[in-house]
Amino acid sequence: MAPILELRGITKRFPGVIANDQIDLTLNEGEILALLGENGAGKTTLMNILYGLYDPDEGEIMIRGEAAQIDGPQDAISQGIGMVHQHFMLVPPLTVAENVILGNEPIQRGLFLDRKLAAKRIREISDTYGLDVDPEALVRTLPVGVQQRVEIIKVLYRSADILILDEPTAVLTPQEVDDLFEVIQTLVDAGKSIIFITHKLKEVLALADRITVLRRGKVVGSTTPADSDEEDLAAMMVGREVSLVVEKAPAQPEGVVLDVKGLSILDDRHSPAVNGIDLQVRSGEILGVAGVQGNGQTELVEALTGLRSATNGAFTIAGEAMTKASPREITEAGVAHVPEDRQADGLALDFPISDNMVLNTYYVPPYAKGIVLQDDVIRENAERLVREFDVRTPGIDLPAANLSGGNQQKVIVAREFNRDIKLLIASQPTRGLDVGSIEYIHKRIVERRDQGVGVLLVSSELDEITQLADRIVVMFKGRIMATVDAAAVTREQLGLLMAGVEVVELSAVTGA
């Protein structure tokens, strides 16, 4: 197999950081190359350079042996490179066909869109590669898995030979991941070459022909699935031995802190997101809510924290009815919430760290006397927390926006843990973080659990759930598929449940 693509010495600098440092990469024709690295390693930057969204400071790109000049996506597209982005680049109010042809529209009579021709070509591609979509459907009505197919069709419509897939499985159920892998195989059989960016070790080993590992902007190794395993890859990704298992003592659960009965919730478009679920969290245990994003978990957390009203059902916290409570009342009842979107919900990015540390406690003594803020108390509190939680920052007056993702999350965790809490609701707490921060946060969560706090952990990373949770519920389309002991269920079974399959013979399924 001859190399169809070669990156030589690619370097890209941003203010204060070198995102890509003399990277050499080779992709052979008809192969699947996995680009592996943890969050922040520089994988997406590298691919953005390849796709023309960034210009490299140094280095060159060779396509089929010839030096290539890529000044923008149009150049990349015309040279046969196509990219399926991590966050979909689809325009929701437009149709599938419109999204696919955008930028490359077929024209009739000089001016007008030729929709018929577009639909025809899309159907051709669908049939050839097994990607079933309705060209006239509005993208915003499609489920995530189908949206991804639209992205792939977009790329194939432009006759791409080299396909870059950036974290394509982040939002898929295990079943959809399998479907995707089949599609990828079809593409490769048809002669395409694939670069597959991910941080998920299992997928890499299952799918890739070759693996290149990035760490802090540099290539640290190249290998194949035959020659390595998860531990090796993890060590290469992080640069040290990584324990893939969280150390924790068995749980000592006591009374029920969170009791949810028959809760039903609508989403923003007034369709049902959560359909009558029951669950319970006891103090001293971690209940993991597993499931692919978009099955109602977000709405559930919002309802439990007072940010969204439920249409039916009720829940209590430490015995108090809280279904109609406001976010403040819930916080005052001893609930800590680490939100899913730390930048949008959890922090006021323009405010200094000291203010963010009291974002939801500023109005109580000692941070305020009446309506007057006590600046010295607030500052002293922030300094203490920054020390305790090892937040890397030159000072507490820095706007939170200047912190890295991991440190921002630490600020939020520090703030939430700084109270007397009975229940911790953590939603995707380690999304987008580097391994070091992930380990730290996992440790603190387990610590709190051991101190008697009940933890509701919502995560779409199955590994996180299996490592941390004592009991697991699986959500699918707003319902709870099963409630099980973490120790008594296998990953495969969880995968099936997450995909909506009723697993009948669950061994030692215990009640809750």
């Binding site: 941003f14 203010p15 204060g16 950081v17 969050n39 922040g40 390693a41 520089g42 994988k43 997406t44 930057t45 924290t305 940010l307 406001s326 976010p327 403040r328 916080t331 919430h337 939100p339 979107d341 930048q343 949008a344 919900d345 959890g346 922090l347 006021a348 990015l349 323009d350 405010f351 203010d355 974002l359 939801n360 500023y362 109005y363 305020a368 309506i371 007057v372 803020l373 600046d375 030159p394 000072g395 507490i396 007056d397 926006a401 200047n402 912190l403 890295s404 993702g405 921002q408 987008g432």
Partner: protein, 483 residues
């Protein structure tokens, strides 16, 4: 980390921070100056079509002084023919000064046009007397800005002289000497208040374009309380009247705030609509129920003397307690925004409503509160003008405070101190502009042009930096948060 000890770099950054706004103002003044020159008919003539008078002898002006100028320098009666001492020389007072630039001796004239006589006017073009054009241009701008200065601050010489006289026991000159400066302060006062109003809105993430309407409605309610309650002592009546103005403005502001909170309707358009509704309302009230009895003009009755804001000095100086009040209000707004929980909530809502909700803050309450406070400040501005200056409410009331206030808030970066400084600047400009209009015939709208340019330059400092080739050394950014 120690607070309060500023490093060298921080101190330099502070000056840097002041430099751009300063340059912005200067650049705007330059561009406005160019506009003044370009639209001045006299300058056109001076560049193309210079009238030259043919005379016996060209006389120079340093032995003469015009009557007008002599009177300015000497209060005593001066007449044509007197000899007076002006600017260090003895001069004869004449009616007007001939401009030697525009005079040509007969000999010079005959070089170009042989058959001429004394008294005839000829016209030169640009190339024959190039400097006349530029001199006229300079004269145009200089007189305009001199008028601006005189109208806003006055003559420092006069002020010093008046002070000296006052110390010696004669305080008659104080009034005239300090009138421009105090006028600037009087003009600045409503700007301080309306600027604070808009700035408060900005801090809460709201664009309050409705300061104008809130000003009107506040004025209506306040003037009503001012003229209809009789027999109350000032200590009761004045605060009540001011409060009424604030309440009126607060209500008018709260309505769009409520609409935004409950329906998501954008406050920009709603506040603008409320402006027009307020104008119509005022029109009706002042031509109807609230019209001054026995008067055909659309004005209200005069307020009771017990609702007047006390003046500091005698006429013609109009400076009144309102100015001090405005400064106190600015301090109060600062305290509220940065030292209280109320302000913390408003600012959080302004910077990130999602996080504010998460933090337990009530968005509806905060939006309404912000708009109500904002409207209240605008209403107070109206009462400042009514109780302090004119003592009644006319229909064609405000001087366009609404949009000016937006410019102010932007200029002051929505911070109370910045707003006060910007308001003083605008007060100076406005007070001077009316003199520019009367003396130099420059329409007062030049101020709006100036303001717009200042806003643009402040909002896009890159323009100033590019223009003046300022080096821009931002701090090395910490690593971006995305990978």
């Amino acid at each position: 980390m120690k607070k309060g000890k500023r490093t060298e770099k921080e101190r330099r950054q502070r000056w840097r921070g002041l430099l751009v706004p300063l340059l912005a103002i200067v650049t705007a003044l330059i561009i406005s100056g160019l506009l003044i020159i370009v639209t001045d008919f006299d300058v056109h003539d001076a560049f193309t079509h210079i009238p030259m008078e043919i005379v016996d002898r060209v006389e120079y002006s340093w032995e003469e002084v015009s009557l007008e100028e002599a009177l300015e320098h000497h209060a005593a009666q001066v007449e044509i023919g007197d000899r007076v001492r002006v600017d260090g020389r003895w001069r004869t007072v004449v009616e007007t000064i001939d401009n030697p630039e525009r005079q040509l001796t007969l000999d010079e004239a005959r070089e170009i046009y042989p058959e001429l006589a004394v008294g005839v006017m000829v016209h030169f073009n640009f190339w024959q007397r190039p400097m006349v054009g530029f001199a006229a241009a300079w004269e145009s701008v200089a007189s305009a800005y001199a008028a601006l200065f005189e109208g806003s601050i006055g003559s420092p010489v006069q002020m010093v002289r008046a002070l000296i006289a006052a110390i010696g026991g004669d305080s008659s000159q104080l009034g005239r000497a300090f009138y421009p400066l105090t006028e600037s302060l009087v003009t600045a006062t409503p700007y301080i208040l309306t600027g604070l109003a808009v700035a408060l809105g900005f801090k809460a993430g709201l664009f309050n374009i409705g300061a104008e309407g809130q000003y009107f409605v506040g004025g209506l309610l306040g003037v009503f309380v001012g003229y209809s309650l009789k027999g109350l002592p000032m200590i009761v009546h004045l605060p009540l009247t001011l409060l009424a103005g604030m309440v009126g403005g607060a209500i008018w502001g709260a309505i769009p705030g409520l609409l935004k909170a409950k329906t998501g309707a954008h406050e920009v358009i709603n506040t603008i609509m409320m402006n027009y509704i307020a104008f119509a309302l005022a029109d009706w009230l002042l031509n109807g129920p609230m019209q001054r009895p026995d008067d055909f003009r659309p004005i209200s009755a005069e307020i009771q003397p017990s609702a007047f804001l006390p003046q500091f000095f005698a006429s013609p100086i109009r400076l009144h307690l309102g100015f001090i009040l405005a400064l106190l209000v600015a301090a109060a707004v600062y305290w509220l925004l940065f030292k209280t929980t109320v302000g913390f909530e408003l600012r959080t809502v302004g910077t990130n409503p999602h996080a504010a909700r998460y933090a337990g803050m009530n968005l509806t309450w905060n939006y309404v509160l912000a708009m109500a406070l904002s409207g209240g400040l605008a209403g107070l501005a109206a009462m400042n003008d009514i109780c302090g200056v004119i003592h009644y409410m006319p229909n064609a009331f405000s001087a366009g405070y609404g949009f000016d206030a937006i410019a102010l808030a932007l200029l002051g970066r929505s911070h109370p101190v910045g707003v006060v400084l910007a308001a003083l600047l605008f007060g100076i400009l406005r007070a001077g502009a009316s003199r520019m209009q009367s003396v130099a015939q420059i329409p007062i709208d030049i101020i709006s042009i100036l303001q717009a340019m200042i806003i643009i330059f402040i909002a896009a400092p890159e323009i100033i930096r590019a223009l003046y080739r300022l080096r821009d050394k931002p701090d090395a950014e910490l690593a971006p948060t995305k990978g």
